[in-house]
């Protein structure tokens, strides 16, 4: 197929940036979206131009590095996939494709389509852990049985890959789905309950500091999330946060 690409080019964080048009031919449906960009980049390099910078690494949908806002949607039109797993068979010959970086004030552009998502890391630093040392002397793994339903739900929440599609797609640039996934994972496990109150208070505080927007429950994040993280987690975090606010000792 032949495609027209409108790609956001921005030299660095201080540059203003703009959409630039590229034509690409010979795209096969079996290519992933990123492989299509690889082809474009090879052509650009051989023409002596600078290739388009984009984040990517594992290319199997799990590392959460790839991003891209494709034709108005995070990770493009397909559901439950990251951009690296989006295949060109989802597009038609002659299509025009807008390719933009994930946009949010909290995700400043580094270059072209690469953004800085370290805000997510800082939220995790604020409490995304259980305070247990690696002494090798923790109790036996089977000492505390965990209700299977809770264990499964904790797992579902924990499958978040931290790609930022929730923020990118949310009309408010809210990070609630991301933060709630981590809060939920630990809140559902007995090991995590010990410091659950302080965790949720600290993580939400950091989330607010980073400049993400507020959740207005549009549900767009859940639809665009490549891992299908449920809105249930946001409700759980709301609950945990409010309860912690009123009942914690600090």
């Amino acid at each position: 197929m032949k495609l027209k690409l409108k790609i956001w080019r921005q030299k660095n964080a201080n540059d203003k940036g703009k959409l630039v048009d590229y034509d690409i031919d010979g795209v096969s449906g079996d290519m992933s979206f990123l492989e299509m960009l690889d082809v474009l980049n090879t052509q650009l390099i051989e023409k002596g131009e600078e290739p388009v910078a984009f984040d990517h690494d594992c290319r199997e949908g799990i590392c959460g590095t790839c991003s891209l806002f494709i034709n108005g949607e995070a990770h493009g039109p397909d559901r439950l996939v990251t951009t690296c797993q989006l295949h060109m068979r989802k597009f038609n010959d002659g299509d025009t494709i807008y390719i933009e970086p994930f946009r949010a004030k909290a995700f400043p552009v580094v270059k072209d389509l690469v953004v800085d998502r370290s805000a997510f890391d800082r939220i995790q630093h604020a409490g995304g852990y259980i305070s247990v040392n690696t002494s090798g002397n923790t109790q036996d793994a089977n000492a505390i049985p965990i209700n299977k339903e809770h264990a499964d739900k904790a797992f579902d929440a924990a499958t978040c890959i931290g790609c930022g599609a929730c923020v990118a797609t949310c009309k408010n640039s809210s990070a609630m789905l991301f933060v709630s996934a981590k809060v939920s994972q630990f809140a559902l496990l007995p090991q995590g309950k010990v410091e659950a109150k302080q965790r949720v208070l600290n993580m939400v505080e950091q989330m607010d500091k980073e400049g993400f927007g507020n959740c207005t429950n549009t549900g767009a994040c859940e639809v665009e999330c490549p891992k299908g993280i449920s809105l249930e987690n946001i409700a759980r975090m709301n609950r945990e946060y409010l309860a912690a606010s009123f009942t914690s000792n600090t």
């Binding site: 660095n12 096969s28 449906g29 079996d30 290519m31 492989e35 690889d38 980049n41 090879t42 650009l44 390099i45 051989e46 600078e50 290739p51 910078a53 984040d55 990517h56 690494d57 594992c58 290319r59 199997e60 799990i62 590392c63 959460g64 590095t65 996939v81 797993q85 989006l86 295949h87 580094v110 270059k111 690469v114 998502r117 370290s118 890391d121 995790q124 630093h125 604020a126 995304g128 852990y129 259980i130 247990v132 040392n133 690696t134 090798g136 923790t138 793994a141 049985p145 965990i146 209700n147 299977k148 264990a151 499964d152 904790a154 797992f155 924990a158 499958t159 890959i161 630990f186 995590g192």
Partner: protein, 666 residues
């Protein structure tokens, strides 16, 4: 005579690690604050090491090329992690895990390291559960297990098809706690460019900030390399795009020996290549072989009809299918180790029975598992076991709950529904057992330089069993290195901060800058990928699943030629002092082009077949690997200025606690 000292402690095998821990020097908590440690890489090994060292009180500087430590490629491990917990009561034990691992590695790993690995494996599970890793559980609330290749017990703990992700996020959370405490200084989007050696000891690194292009000096009292494997030397592999050998190769060039580079794991169940545009290969977890049956048609006319689209695999009668693993290896069936399964697939495809257009694919079929589970469910719920649609529906649900994410991934990539039609799979490069040579303390031949996880060579011999990579990464990082490094650092409590204005840092930084400037000013005409792809093709064709002396000699020549051309004709657009992925790639491919040659040299010298290393000249009458006792050693290569002139040092392997015999899975 060998210059290698593996520093294996005295005493009976089962007591060695305990005795060693009891005897090695410790650093008191107050003094740990005075000591800096650099960790390069934040996967399971690096992440767990960084977190644990920081917990102990050392000042850790951790580096990763990704934008967050959470993205290291350990995250992509799917199936599970082994541990000798014996929760299933099926006869597992530390010894049995040790035995399986040594046998699985085709008797090419260091016995004592493997035993220690098996010994600490149970601790890993305890630790991870305490950290909130949501492993799969049964209805009683206790941990569930599954089986993996090459073993006869169920000892694999898992979290659906995302075990690596969950374990890495566990490490990442432990790191976050230390980052918040200020005990880990995290350097994201930083690449290690060079090791700095002062007075014979590893004392720092030169790193490049991948966002600004700035060249930075970082000093420490010890340096830990946890940068993973080098499977990307094949260009196409299941590794992440950024996975590279550079950190390991740079330390090799500075004096660390590189061991058994030719031991590479070709994983049997990956999605086949679809075209020239392919940038990477996707693994389908080995856990699928718990329930999937591998086959090709028995009749050549069926193969032809399938390739031409006249016949669907589901239309082929049971008696016309060749379940070749079950046929050849009745004891282990579809769960033979990876090297065996891969070679068997290659054998069938080479014989012309490959089932896709390129002739390089076999079927992985879940129809009988769906039937079996469906009937079981129907029985449990008191429904009609003969209702075909119902049984299929119920069975599909069970399979979905076990492997749903893998099936979905397959469908997205191949555009076929694997619940309805068998998956097509083919082997692909997955893991490298070889790596930087380390002693029992995980220290390399450079004092103060350690290598852990996939980056070292020690535990998997010539073939790694499934679900053992996660085990080794975490064992090294959580439970081995943090002890052994103290022994070395105890001598450094009075050293004080290592200054970064030493001439050694100047020299290292200048060398890095010179290479970078060389790249950006080279007026070549071809992209970095062009050379990488060519290297990969040579590696796959001649140094891949089956190797012979003739092909290896050609490969060595060809790699040298590509390397020469690369330096003349590579084009790296953009500048040095900015975000420049091509520049980062150029440095990595330059190192792959050197490693590739050593890899082929190692494969050529090893005149035997063992594990992932299969020399066509050395096979049994039935086509199995023919191991030769005279090669029962580790080949550790010393760099002398050119990969072609590396000097080999042998570390003999002795098995005092396990009988070396023919590895049979029949």
């Amino acid at each position: 005579m060998t210059v290698l000292n593996s520093r294996v402690p005295e005493g009976p095998l089962a007591d060695k690690w305990t005795n060693h821990k009891n005897k090695i020097n410790l650093v008191n908590p107050a003094n740990k604050r005075l000591i800096d440690v650099i960790v390069v890489g934040t996967g399971l090994a690096g992440g767990s090491a960084a977190a644990t060292l920081a917990e102990l009180g050392y000042n850790v500087k951790a580096f990763c090329y990704q934008d967050s430590p959470r993205r290291a490629h350990s995250i992509a491990a799917q199936g599970g992690i082994n541990a000798a917990k014996n929760y299933q009561g099926d006869g597992d034990s530390t010894y049995r895990l040790f035995y399986d691992t040594v046998k699985g590695g085709d008797y090419r790993s260091r016995e004592e390291n493997v035993y220690r690995l098996a010994e600490v494996s149970a601790n890993i599970i305890d630790q991870c559960v305490a950290q909130g890793v949501p492993f799969a559980r049964d209805y009683g609330g206790l941990l569930d297990n599954r089986s993996f290749g090459g073993v006869l017990v169920s000892r694999t703990f898992y979290a659906k098809g995302q075990t690596g992700q969950q374990l890495l996020l566990g490490c990442y959370s432990a790191m976050n706690r230390q980052i918040a405490r200020g005990k880990i200084a995290m350097y994201n989007r930083h690449e290690m460019m060079e090791l700095v050696i002062v007075d014979g000891k590893a004392r720092g690194i030169i790193a490049r900030n991948l966002v600004t292009g700035e060249i930075e000096r970082h000093s420490a009292h010890a340096v830990v390399i946890a940068s993973g494997g080098y499977g990307n030397v094949f260009y196409l592999s299941t590794n992440a795009m950024g996975s590279n050998v550079s950190a390991a190769w740079k330390v090799h060039k500075k004096g660390a020996f590189f061991a058994n580079p030719c031991f590479t794991q070709i994983h049997p169940t990956c999605i086949p290549v679809s075209g020239d545009h392919q940038s990477k290969l996707t693994l389908m977890s080995e856990s699928l072989r718990n329930d999937g049956r591998i086959w090709v048609p028995k009749k050549m006319e069926d193969v032809k009809a399938i390739r031409e689209g006249r016949l669907k695999p589901t239309q082929i009668a049971e008696e016309d299918r060749d379940y070749y693993l079950e046929r050849r290896y009745p004891a282990f069936g579809n769960l033979v180790p990876r090297d065996v399964a891969s070679r068997a697939a290659k054998e069938r495809c080479d014989a012309g029975y490959g089932v896709n257009a390129t002739g390089e694919a076999v079927y992985l079929d879940f129809a009988s598992a769906i039937q079996r589970y469906g009937k079981e469910q129907a029985h449990i719920h008191g429904l009609d076991e003969n209702d075909k649609d119902l049984v299929k529906k119920l069975g599909t649900e069970v399979v979905k709950s076990k492997y749903g994410n893998l099936f979905q991934m397959y469908e997205k990539i191949v555009d076929q529904n694997p619940y309805e039609t068998p998956m097509m799979i083919y082997p692909a490069v997955h893991y490298t057992m070889g790596g930087v040579w380390v002693d029992y303390n995980l220290m390399t031949t450079i004092p103060g330089l350690y290598a852990i996880g996939e980056a070292n060579f020690s535990d998997h011999g010539a073939n790694r069993l499934g679900a053992s990579a996660l085990m080794q990464g975490l064992a090294d990082g959580y439970f081995v290195l943090p002890y052994t490094i103290g022994d070395y650092l105890s001598a450094d409590i009075r050293t004080g901060k290592i200054p970064t204005n030493l001439p050694e840092f100047d020299a290292a930084e200048n060398a890095v800058k010179e290479q970078i400037n060389g790249f950006v000013n080279n007026k070549g005409s071809k992209s970095v990928d062009y050379f990488h792809k060519r290297l990969g093709k040579v590696m796959w064709d001649k140094v891949g699943m089956a190797r012979n002396a003739e092909g290896l000699k050609q490969a060595i020549e060809e790699i040298r030629a590509i390397r020469e051309e690369f330096w003349k004709d590579v084009r790296v657009p953009g500048a040095a002092n900015e975000y420049n992925e091509e520049l980062a790639k150029a440095g990595r491919v330059a190192d792959f082009l050197e490693l590739g040659e050593l890899f082929a040299i190692d494969a050529l010298h090893r005149e035997e077949s063992c594990g992932g290393h299969f020399r066509e000249e050395y096979q049994t009458a039935e086509g199995e690997a023919l191991r030769r006792p005279e090669f029962q050693y580790v080949a550790a290569w010393e760099y002398t200025g050119n990969p072609g002139e590396a000097i080999m040092h042998k570390e003999p392997l002795e098995y005092k606690n396990i009988e070396v015999k023919e590895r049979s899975y029949k």
